[in-house]
Amino acid sequence: MFKLLKPLTLTSLFLFIAFISFAQRGTVTGLLIDVETNEPIIGATVSSSSSDGGGFSNEDGQFTANFKVGFQIITIDYIGLIRKEIQNVKVEDGAVTDIGTIMMESKLKDAVKGGVVVRIKKSTTTESAVIAQMKNAVSLIDITGSQAMSRAGDGNAAAAAQRVTGVSVEGGKYIFIRGLGDRYTKTVLNNMELPGLDPDRNTIQMDIFPTNLIDNIMVVKSFTPNLSGDFTGGWIDVKTKDFQAKEIFEISGSMGFNPVMHLNSNYLNYNSSKLDFLAFGAKSRSLPFTVMQIPSSLWATDGSEAQRLAKSFNTTMATEQKTSLLNSSFTLSYGNQKDTNRTTWGYNIAFGYSNEYNYYDKAIYETYLKSSDRSENQLKLASVNNGSLGENEVLWSALANGSYKKGKKSVSTTLFHTQNGIKKSSFLDFKNIDNPFGDAGAKLEKNVLYYNERMLTSLLLKYTYGDSDSTWKITTKLSPSRSSNNEPDMRVTALSPDENGYRFNIGAGSEVSRIYRSLQEYAVNAKVDFERTFTLKDKVKTKVLFGAANSIKSRGFGVVKYTFQSPTYANMNFTGDPNQIFEEYLFNDEANDGFYVTGGPVKANYFDAWMNVSGGYVMNEMPIMNERLNLIYGVRIEKADMYYTGSNTQNISYINQKVLNEVNVLPSLNICYKISPEVNLRMAGTKTIARPSFKEKSLAQIIDPISGRTFIGNLDLKQTEVINFDIRYEWYMNRGEIFSLGTFYKNFINPIEIVVYKPETPTNFTPRNATSAQMYGIEMELKKSLQHYSEFLKNYFIATNLSYIFSEVTMTTQEITGKTNELREGQIIGDTRVMQGQSPYIINGSINYDGKDNGISMNVSYNVQGPKLAIVGIGRVADVYTESFHSLNIKLSTSLGLKKKAKLSLAVTNLLADDNLQVYKSFQAQDQVFTQLQPQRTFKLGFSYSIK
């Protein structure tokens, strides 16, 4: 009889609760736990010998089933697990019988001996749990859990996320979903919006979340009205660790060794602050005086002040060779739960620290241009900027959360902080071979010292009312957060080598400068969600969800540059050591000569902006056709207002000027059709939007001395509207297994592309609305245990996914003109091109071995992303593509000790020793290097120990 009952979606798991009202019937409740993984079992069938009534376990593993009065044999079934029969369960009229926790075992495994913890929360980390979550979701989602992250040895969220179908990562930081970047992809923390960290982007950089604090990363690919409407590629929810049902206390540590980068005496560093190892290096590098204008004439009008100011700076300007240490990392986590009669307390703290060294002894940065002779197809080398680069990155994060639950009410709070410091020291030989964007023939020796401190603090407060039995469920969330990205005191010294040593040659580009850039963001998000469950006449449950959200976000940005110059350089004998300038040749009032400081803030390079988005929604989950078809439909209304304070270089100022005011109605329809208990067919049709960022819709003309680019805002910019369609076939074969095949189509109206302002200004960028863009693609995922195929393969599990994406965007007239001007003979360009940053294909594959008896496990993982357009070429600048990086990693680990509390692991990353390569591509021309870095192989030895 239970064959007639189909495992249902999460939303209809409460189906039989209301049977209580029938006479001569009673209720049986219980909790189902997988003995092996300690996870709740979701969607198991509960039936009885009386062949009447039954139920399913919900997402917490709990079930409530309704049966005839009497002694019943309760049968519990779940694919892949041994059927459990509980004899002589007494069902009383109108009463509830709790049969407690039922442990279930895998069919393929010997029974596990006792000692199992029974109180348990829903797990969200293991492979089987994340797949169960995907199966029961109302929309199209993909998840990767912490188990997968630790198996592959991924260190941060960016690395972990790229294991998800259709996800690619740019520059190790920025997530692209289905080829769509930050404009179309939204990253949230525990379902709440975050402030950003990058002056050029809306999104948060994903590399600042270490995986040891993450439970799972969920990527929602089809919009539902309870999410904010400004995502198209995906909504990435980073879920931080929650407390565990049992007491846990774990510590781990690792050391990483890269034979090329580590213990290398050529490693480049610079004399720096004592707090760098805690990623608090910005303060010691702050500007020695209040930001102010220092006129270049100060030395002539007030020499003593000029001397004082010049001497106030830190004197280190040179890179120094110093032996690099090994990579190291350390994590700690503790969590527990306390139950009293009716209340539950849970808490969790976690901390992670890592310190890594990278050294690139042959970093290549080259500029090629199309020939001025249009009959010549080959690109010409214009300038080279090659050398070596030392990089030290410190990342630490701390997380604390606590939760209190009493009856149907629960309150929880999470405080998260992450702190990151990156120190880069580079020594570069620049040569202008024949570049009209500079002084032909110029040679420079550059020492560049850079420090970047990023941080994010986020607090989440959550109140929930209601549980799985309630007709009403209310969730209120409030989350203030703050982020900052400081780049204090970027020190550049460029001297021109010549026959007699070194010169300060202005024409060749000699410079001594100190640049300070900072970004501060604040966000406060508030949300309330209501969920009302109705029982229809055929006992089908339907849910109505409605709620409101408000999000305020503000951003302050500024960059200031100070330059050092001397009235004359005639009496200086430069040795090439940049420190000499600050030790020997600083401005001296008496001699009335030497390097003085000049420059200061430019109004146009500062802005403050803020935005308020209010939203409200209503949606309904409606199971029809005998609950085989679940319709999730609804609408969200969002009102967005954006305000800008700043001026342009023509001295036109905006003070808290409203630049964007939009109201959007965003409908959504998700359909899930259960072809069989194991097979879902999903379809979705939604409308979403993409708003311009603060500086995009503004009068900004910001010159960024770090990138050398000028950003020009566009007040006429319209927001982008996107129509999304998705179809996906999902087959959940066994527990933890899935095969899915999907296709999608997106149509963009007024897509925003960052393009060169006009062909003659290749370093001036502006956002423009292209008339249209569209993309479509297919995605496939397979996660499968090989245990059914042979005894030898029983402990092997494979996981693979691939995406193939096609995109095209109409080019703006400026871009077409700029490209047409420099067409080579026989070359034709249309009026479309691929979207920037989009990989045409993404392939992931991994094989995992889990020796359950010997405690040994092994994971081999591979990731590759097809070449993607990084820089859109215009005029004589050719397109730059990021070439595929074939990432092959292997990780071996073994449990130690009698109780297997300790674990030792060895991982090798970048086994193929592939390079990070970006190349120029042009019509019938050989590809030429734009940048090339060689990360080499890294060997990592790790140890972890579970104290509790």
């Binding site: 270049s296 001025s372 009209p436 040593g501 024409g507 004359t568 004998n573 430019v602 001007n821």
Partner: protein
Amino acid sequence: MKNKLKTLTLIILSAGVTLISGCTEEKPIIDNPPVEGTIYHSGFISENQTWTASSIHVLQNRVIVQPGVTLKIEPGTIIKGEAGQEANASALIIARGAKINAQGTIDNPIIFTSVADEIALGQKFGTNLSTTKTKGFWGGLIILGDAPISPKTGTTEQIEGVPADVIEGNYGGSNPADNSGVLTYVSIRFGGTLIGEGNEINGLTLGGVGSGTKIDHIEVIGTLDDGIEFFGGSVNVTNALVAFQGDDGFDVDQAYTGILSNFIYLGGADSDHALEIDGPEGSENSEGAFIFRNGSLMGNAKIGEYVDFRSNAQGTVENCYFFGFNANADIELDDEKSSTNFINGELSFNNNSFNSSVWSLDSEGNPDGNITILSNLKSLFADKSGTSSSSAVDKFLSSNNTLVTAKANGADKNEFVGWTLADYEELLTEL
């Protein structure tokens, strides 16, 4: 329950406020206090305007005369630029289609200088700033026109330091006879501030300026970058003096096709090339060739070179007199195309004379106070194109260039007497 919710909300809100406070940031102080009796200029000039000599005029930042508008500057007017870099750089820009009418006289030259210069109304010279050392105290004078240029791509270009959306920063076109007005007896002092990474404003920048423009009697002293830079265009310039600049004296780019005649160059302690000549950058208007004639060029004892021909240079340098350079200075052909152009005559260097006395340098490249007498011309010439160089040297030697012991040709310095700072500082005596 209701009360609990209320308390909770309050706690949450106060936490939010705590996180948000600390949002105070120091705002930059930018503006200088105004001085009485001074007229301040900033931004766009959109109607005809006259700047009179009765006030000091201060350029607060980029002042742009818009197309169709004429800016008249009376003889004897003093214009001072404020200090500032990048977008704060003070400069007077005559946009394509706009005109400047700045006709000074010997007695009342028009002077562009820095606000730090204490020169007062009615004076021709300030005394508080060092003539030989001061540079980069403000921006410069930029004139843009509609004459053909050969930029990197297409036929127009945006002047450095002006964002692309400011259309007034665009220059170059198709009218060789374009008229940007008149500029005579104008002295531009101590400019050349930084406007971007590795970019400084020149003393006088001429971008695509047409031959209908009249430019003569120009002095550029102490600019941080180049003295006068021609970006294409066809304007003729006569009686021009450049001294003590931080980079090159006269600089040619983007296939300038005009004539510079009767010019003087005085190399400073930080000057690079007296003449720096680049060729066309792109495929449009790439035939253009310049002529430099009748120049007197005095080098520096320590540093600086005669001429650098590079990037497909094409044009003529003739009847010039070079003296006072150091022993290491040379005339250089930097690239293969320039070398080829030189051999086949598209680039010509003829009838020039060199004083055989040059300053000798010690092993570290510093002047030792002695004089070396050059025995032949060959040592002055350096073909660094990497091609077989004998034919280029032969061409140089057969182009009627000579070693002399006294001034034989060059500029007539009398055109610079009475109105230039160089004359006032008695720097023209050796010419």
